[in-house]
Symmetry: C2
Subunit: 392 residues, 2 copies
């Protein structure tokens, strides 16, 4: 099987940008991705694009992928819009990897974009609602915060965990995001502030929830031949694991695990030939604080019920054994739905090339974990610095 | 490069089905696809799914792909929802082919679905509008019929063509569709009826426009090893050509050509090692009658301005030199947006295995042509009967 490498990656600033559009934000991400490539090359060499977006709001919904590639001057390249809710660009990344491995393309653009703040809060809630389970959850009034609050309540009930453990996710990720000039909420917060903030959906406070964000991200995925030509320090895609799960929470056996993460991670570790947690850092999908705790356990970074300990002991701090969300995560960096998956790839690319805003010492292998909805679709990618010898 | 084969394909009936859902319709298509496989096999061998849909209406919009695979009992397989407007499942097919060729999967489900009739006509028009060009076309009141009417007006002005030539598309495709038990509008119509029907957007009459349809379709794409095990007469994917084009009609140099079709076809012919038109039949994207005329020319089946002659001389009739839309096409079979691309694959599969409702004598190679919007995204696939020796 052919290898696939990330040779460039970049993101727009994440935030609220009333003067920007999904196209202009993606253009920024794309240009930054091009600028990050070591060698000079003609962007016309890009063969194909896979672009993730939920498509919130009343603007271009269908065919926005081709509208984006048209805007950036990539006229005519096959462009697939991928939508898997919040995992849209995790899947776009997977499909870009597949296109390179298949030999159908040698250089592929993966990315995502979302403009969420130019419509009413009700409209945004509607768009998010119809990407959760619609018939039994949305139509009965359940929001995403409500779904994750159910998970959080179950977790606090089941294990030795407290609301402060949820707040520890916020404190850590905001501390990281404060170093990231592209973060939406680039400020720090205290344990007390996070815990005492107004409830959004009990037990989740405002600080336990990611913001509503505009932004875009892009990655350039290349064959080994192209990577050897254009990149001094490419990032090998050692694995692309993916899995689906029940779209509705009520269809699952447990509220304290996302089975699709477990399966996607197993597939990824198997492809990469590594054991669970055998990575130097991870970007995980912390749309709500509880999601980061569940991710630790579902990814096998610790045993069941042990996630609070990792946070309390600083294991996932930047100077801990396994730093998580050095970018600030969805919590602080922001969560422009379709841009999040490849946004995580940007962080992995920068970490593995030694340019992280919060750099992990000696980062040689990292993991990204992107979740659609409350677990209906998940991707887990493993990235390694340099040219690998193995087969992914 | 690995070869990819279609070893099974099926569609639900296309029509107006108030008692069905996108999930139940897809289940029918999926079961028919399974039933069409020559050998017995465990559906759990399916590795991955790519499902196309625009997502019209107020039901599940985001994450509907995983909701569908969950419904059909394909728990946990990676499922990508693809949306490229009316070319959604043409691209889903392309990505399924890529997944097999990459070696990331050996047996992949490609498909699509749309339920269009359970919402108001205004809502349906809105959903279609936001998958055309939104900012300059939809917001100025232009509909899809309006866009294609501009193309038709330009064509009638530029070439020796008449409204009757548009009607000839309807007459031929309804005659074919009348033989297809899965067709939405399975009745014949006369040249006079089609021409004298009420105008939808002048010069397009009601009979020059495809219907609003519910339906689903599915294809099973396999590696050569799996195809040799499970299929007596597989259908080789000889080419998957794709291209994007300007999403807005006003961005194009000509109103009488869809550049993305030209490019996608060139790429497909090159991959298949054939010349333009070197196929025994074609399924082309006749969302409006003018689209079929443009397709003849953009696909290189005839010179510019020659499309009316093909229709007048019966070249594209079932007993002509190059039968087109033996299934009835979008015009008669129906156009459930996301289901159309793999719906065309169903027809190609059946033709190449000798089971067409309107069978083309000696069909060994066929082409499918799927257009998103008014040409923002196009796929052209070439299929060949049996195990091929070449490399696609």
């Amino acid at each position: 099987m052919r290898e696939a490498y990330v040779i460039g990656a970049g993101q727009s600033p994440f935030g609220s940008y009333p003067d920007e559009t999904y196209r202009s934000l993606f253009e920024t991400a794309y240009e930054r991705a091009l600028d990050s490539v070591d060698g000079d090359f003609d962007p016309d060499r890009i063969d194909e694009a896979f672009l993730g977006t939920l498509g919130v709001g009343g603007r271009q919904i269908g065919l926005s992928g081709p509208a984006v590639t048209e805007h950036i001057g990539q006229h005519g390249i096959p462009t697939t819009r991928v939508e898997n809710a919040c995992a849209a660009s995790g899947y776009a990344m997977r499909n870009a990897v597949s296109a390179v491995k298949s030999g159908m393309a040698d250089l592929v653009l993966a990315g995502g974009y979302e403009v969420m703040t130019d419509t009413s809060a009700d409209q945004t809630k509607w768009w998010l609602g119809v990407s959760g389970e619609t018939e039994w959850e949305r139509l009965s009034g359940t929001t995403f915060a409500g779904v994750y609050a159910q998970m959080a309540s179950a977790y606090l009930d089941e294990y030795d965990a407290t609301p402060e453990d949820l707040s520890r996710v916020a404190v850590k990720n905001h501390a990281n995001g404060a170093e990231n000039p592209n973060a939406h909420l680039g400020f720090t917060c205290s344990l007390e502030d996070a815990t005492a903030a107004p409830a959004v959906a009990d037990p989740l406070t405002l600080y336990h929830c990611c913001p509503t964000t505009d932004g875009a991200s892009a990655a350039l995925v290349a064959s080994e031949e192209v990577a050897r030509e254009l990149s001094d320090v490419p990032v090998r895609v050692a694995a692309s694991g993916a899995a689906s799960g029940a779209v509705g929470l009520f269809q699952r056996d447990s509220l304290t695990s996302v089975p699709a993460t477990v399966t996607a991670a197993e597939r990824a570790y198997d492809q990469a030939g590594i054991e669970a947690g055998d990575v130097d850092f991870a970007e995980v999908h912390d749309c709500f604080a509880i999601a980061e705790l569940l991710a630790y356990e579902d990814l096998g970074l610790c045993d069941r019920g042990e996630a609070p300990r990792l946070l309390r002991e600083g294991v996932t701090d930047p100077d801990g054994d396994l730093p998580v969300n050095t970018s600030g995560g969805l919590k602080s960096k922001g969560h422009p739905i379709g841009a999040t998956g490849t946004g995580q790839v940007v962080e992995a690319f920068e970490q593995l090339r030694g340019h992280g805003h919060v750099q992990v010492d000696g980062a040689e292998r990292g993991l990204t974990h992107n979740v659609g909805g409350s677990g209906g679709g998940v991707t887990v990618h493993v990235f390694e610095r340099g040219f690998g010898g193995g087969s992914a």
